[in-house]
């Protein structure tokens, strides 16, 4: 006996994708509602990091290294958004 890794991964991925999509929708509600810009940026951070995680999982499913390697850029982009917002609010300009 033994598990068929591909079939088990595919079956679990269906359930996981539903949960992730639900979470993305709820994040999106807060991103639209968010009273201040900082709330929106916090939510977009969470969305970007979770999207990066989901892209790695999808990369295993589609057998594509290119899809997974894009998540590195996505994670760094969310970090850049934080720092630029902070510099804009505190210093008044973005000094690159």
């Amino acid at each position: 006996m033994g598990l068929n890794f591909e079939v088990v991964f595919r079956e679990v991925l269906y359930a996981v994708a539903v949960i992730y999509t639900l979470a993305f929708v709820i994040y999106g509600i807060r991103a639209i509602k968010g009273p201040t810009t900082a709330d929106i940026i916090l939510v977009v951070d969470c969305l970007s990091f979770d999207m990066a995680a989901f892209m790695v999982i999808l990369g295993i499913y589609f057998r594509s290294v290119m899809l997974a390697s894009g998540s590195i850029i996505l994670a760094l982009w969310a970090y850049m958004l934080d720092l630029y917002y902070t510099k804009y609010v505190l210093y008044g300009e973005v000094e690159v």
Partner: protein, 154 residues
């Protein structure tokens, strides 16, 4: 089953459990992000959503990719990318959240929530090593206005 097969099954099951737990963490963080009342409370939900909801499933995906036979030789690349992304998010997410919170606190973004005690505000006028940053700007004729920080006078 050979001992190597047992090891592969253990790694695969561990990775799948990490992915499922991470998805549940993500849903909990989304609900918390929607229902918490002010910005400082929402940063708790952001921590759950990034560390529990992103680092954990990426680490699990790396473990799964390491033993997936359908990926062929590609699985080592995939596992390397997954572990790199996990370490990157683990370092980058708390740093970004801290900088965002400092921007909200010192830049006075939005309305400050009603706090029972704010020790930072009590301490700031008495401390020399931490400046309460007040943003001001000076008009320079013919050029862009110049922004600078000033320590708030006591």
């Amino acid at each position: 089953m050979s001992p190597l097969d047992v090891l592969y099954h253990a790694v695969f099951v561990t990775g799948m459990v990490f992915i499922v737990i991470g998805a549940i963490y993500d849903l909990i963080a989304a609900i918390g992000m929607l229902r918490f009342s002010d910005f400082y409370m929402r940063t708790h939900a952001a921590t759950v959503g990034t560390i529990g909801g992103a680092v954990l499933p990426v680490f699990g995906a790396g473990l799964v990719a390491l033993v997936s036979p359908q990926l062929g030789e590609l699985r080592f690349f995939m596992a390397g990318i997954a572990f790199t992304v996990a370490m990157l998010i683990l370092m980058v997410a708390p740093t970004g959240t801290h900088s965002l919170v400092s921007a909200v606190y010192f830049g006075r973004v939005g309305r400050k929530p009603r706090l029972i005690v704010d020790q930072l505000e009590e301490d700031l006028p008495h401390r020399e090593d931490v400046a309460e940053l007040v943003r001001e700007h000076r008009e320079v004729p013919g050029e862009q206005p110049e922004f600078y920080f000033r320590r708030r006078s006591r």
